[in-house]
Amino acid sequence: MTTRRDFLKLGAVAAGAAVVTKSALVAADELARGGRDFSPLTGKARQAVPTACWQCVTRCAAVGFVENGRLVKIEGQPNSIRTGGKVCSKGQAGVNQVYDPDRILYPLKRTGARGEGKWQRISWDEALTELAGRLKTLRDDGHPEKFMFHYGRMKASSSKLIKSVFLANYGTGTIGNHTSICEGGKWTAQELTWGGHFDNWDFDKTKFVLNFGSNCLETHTNHIPVAHRLVEAIAGRNVPMVTFDVRLSNTAAKSREWVPIRPAADGAVALAMCNVIMSEDLYRGEGEAYLKYCKFTRDRHATTEQKVAALQRHLAQYTPEWAEQVSGVAADKIRSIAREFATTKPAVVISYRGAVAHYNGNDAERAIQMLAAITGNMDNPGGRCKAVGASWKYPKGPKEKPKSKKLKILDGFKGQAALPTHHMSHHVLKMIKDGSAGRPEIYMWYCYAPVYSNGDVQENIDVLKDESLIPYTVCVSPFYDESAALADLILPDATYLERWDWEDMVSPNGVAEYYIRQPVVPPLGETRDFGDVCCELAERMGFPLGFESKEEFVRLSCEMTPGVKEAGGFEFMKTQGVWHDSEAKPPYYAYKKKVKAEALVKDGVIFDEATGVYWNWTKSKAKSPEEATEKGYAHTKNAYKGYVGQEIGGAVYKGYKPDKVNKSGYLELYSEIMEEKGLPPLPTYVAVPEHELMGDDQLILTTFKVNVHIHSRSANCKWLTEIYHDNPAWINPQTSARIGVRDGDLVRVASEIGDVVTKVNVTPAVVPGVIAISFHCGHWEYGRYASGNKSPTGTDDDPELERKWWRANGVHPNWIIPNSPDPINGQHRWMDTVVRVTAA
């Protein structure tokens, strides 16, 4: 009988024979790629529906999973080149948006006084009869501009259908956006330097990241596509990142080094770094070669030597020692980081609201552009690059559109901001209150929270509530928030998981991604996508748009758009969700491309000697070639729309195409546009006036966002609010000692417009002299998960309502932040408010 020992002995000597094995099995991948899911209870495959997120503006392609008709889960889209299949916590919590028990499920009409909270359920027919009647009267009376439409998040096909087709055919130009409370100032600075926004950071190829005030691992305009690449760079390739921030954000925490900096001093440090780079000749090489495409002097024909001399002259005042006084960052630290940035190739400089949402934000961003330019880290692999997004074609509706009219209430008071190219939405209600530029009779808002999202909350409430200022208010929203409470009519919108769209957000890898959003589940209750409602309103008012629904608009777009059409059009997109051209390459160095000779001799194209720009005058507001020539490119309205190319040293290059302003094709760091407005043409540092006047007992209030919330549209998501529902204010131990409070104490934070009471979190993770309060919290409406308050139409059928264990819902800082613009671009100054903090 063979023993166990004999078997094992045989096993020992059989090792050699056993390795020649031709195996049948391999270990399965540890984690399977997404796109499939199974019920843990029944094992049944769930239906996977490709769609797109809408929690934040990043709008990642995603997949919704449906079981027995209910959306149960959201995952990343594994075929997305933007996200690589990743999705964030906010995206996953989209499920909560659909099934929020406080959702509005049918049209509501106010019955009591405005804001009293008394509502009557009405039918869609009643709602649209009333609204179309009012709208048509204004239009027929020749005053379409008295219909103001104000949107918060409206992008891609929703924007084209609602704004470019419906509102354009209605005839109102009184259309408000929200960009100035977001990052509009950054965009303006980019328009002044390299034309259309925005900057994309090539983390895939970079070797060094210099960060001024961006918290992109937690929140960003292109969050997941950017963040997962940065994580890969840091964790996979050991790419160092240095972060300047007043607060130890999670992005700062993941950096090699967090450099604490005083508020509004980023521009000073960036200029001092430019000083180091220019005075130590670190610009030589890539930076020097790049100067050819830059404008640093009034004379566009300046030689490289002249440009270098002009820069050195301008920067001489901004020494590291000077910047140390302004920023609190040691001069030696500024020098060493500047040297490392300039000598590591390629390196990328990144920036966001920490640097930009200030009085001096415009020039902080221009100085940061300059840092990238003089080191040759612009539009190069691994540098700061022009973003690339999808270019959809879409049906434009009726050919003949009325000439639109608008109320001049979008850009603030005259002289408040020199170049508000993204408007001043935070001043719209102030302008309405003032009345000198006229007032709308109908104020409608869509995916927007005018009360909560702007500064000076009390004033927003007062204006919206006052029927003598705005006779009729209409809210388009799936939810009953603080603004909806002040509407006369609420049109219950579908959530993004119940509607159609095509999407176009930019790709960090420089290859455009085309993707769609489709309903994962049908709209709940009587809710309707506002795109569909616009089609019906237009029909009722007698100007049909030529398509009957958003779905049809998306289908037609898929069939018109090159690439998507050939891939299989609408049917392909419905099953696959995403498409990109697999042959496409990132457009590095696109500015160096020469313009074809035939493009320069086309009808209407003329040369402007002053700027060196070839442009097509027929696309501008000029009435004749003579007028265009006489006024010149720089001074003809909308001349930038006809930009063809930039002459540099005898050749004509594509250069940096302008947008919104008549910039030349150079990367303009010397801006004649600013000079003509009486502003310094080269990037310059100015202190924040209120900060100069601060007393010892005052602090600067800074604001921030966290990784599990979007600004103001996620507090109703129970999964997110369970994680983050309270926001004690951060202060440094030095500050708390000075004020005489301890961790957990209540404090009163008072600004010139009001005060709030909150708890303090005493932590060295914020610089002395600053109090940091996050957004997201402090709702007093928006349903039970956000505020504890049930909406007028709330139901009790969510079993998890009983499991809501938290009571606190934090404070909202906007009660004490005045609506105040960057004087150049109109950007809301979220990080500048001076406050007095005392024990409460």
């Binding site: 009988m1 063979t2 166990r4 004999d6 078997f7 094992l8 002995k9 045989l10 096993g11 020992a12 000597v13 059989a14 090792a15 050699g16 024979a17 056993a18 390795v19 020649v20 094995t21 031709k22 195996s23 049948a24 099995l25 391999v26 270990a27 399965a28 540890e30």
Partner: protein, 222 residues
């Protein structure tokens, strides 16, 4: 969690586990296909011949004297006659042995079991999922994971690996392999497959007994 003083024997335990895995790998090759020159060259090495002999496998004179070509030809003929056909043969598949048909319910269960353990069949694998050599290879892989767990001192993983092996032995291998081997031993023309079949049957019975002994218990010293 109680642990016996197995620590000094750690290397020994890892070694024994690997040996057991090797034997499964070896037997998988015996039944996988007609003998390949490389495999039988390995077998002709004296230490392996001795160990086989010790385990009751007498390969016969042919192994010492015959030329390799002749030997492989004869073995190939016996393998084909026993396991492939044409005509009456002994199909080396679980479902064929238990249900009398290929691709039966047992086949699907074997595939599901193996895939649920984090393996997949290679895309170029063209045989059926419940072939005897696949079941042996699966055991070899599970034992390999057990050895890794032992090496990193992860008793929970060791227990889990052993439990999975015991269940697979009980639900699949020991339900059909010993009887299959008995048929092969009776039908083999050459001593090679006769003795290999006997060895396999004995080993699986020993495995089943070992598993029953250790069922529900902690992995103890051998």
């Amino acid at each position: 969690m109680t642990r016996t003083s197995g620590r000094p024997n750690q290397a020994d335990r890892v070694g024994k586990t690997a040996e057991r895995g090797n034997l499964y790998g070896f037997l998988a090759l015996v039944f996988q296909s007609e003998p390949t020159p490389e495999f039988w060259r390995e077998i002709r090495r004296p230490p392996l011949l001795a160990a086989l002999s010790n385990a009751g496998v007498e390969l016969g004179e042919a192994f010492r004297g015959d030329s390799e070509d002749e030997l492989l030809r004869d073995l190939g003929i016996d393998f084909t006659r026993l396991f492939v056909g044409p005509g009456k043969h002994i199909a080396p598949y679980e479902s064929a042995q238990l249900e009398g048909a290929l691709w039966g319910a047992a086949t699907a269960k074997v595939a599901a079991f193996i895939e649920s353990c984090g393996f997949r069949y290679r895309s170029d694998f063209q045989d059926m999922p419940d072939h005897i050599s696949v079941e042996f290879e699966f055991m070899k892989e599970l034992i390999g994971r057990e050895a890794e767990a032992l090496e990193r001192d992860d008793p929970d993983a060791v227990t889990a690996c052993r439990r999975t092996q015991a269940v697979f032995l009980e639900q699949h291998i020991s339900r059909w392999v010993p009887q299959f081997c008995d048929q092969v031993a009776d039908a083999a023309a050459l001593p090679v497959y006769r003795d290999m079949a006997r060895l396999t049957a004995d080993f699986i019975r020993s495995e089943r007994d070992e598993a029953a002994r250790g069922e529900g218990g902690e992995p103890g010293p051998d």
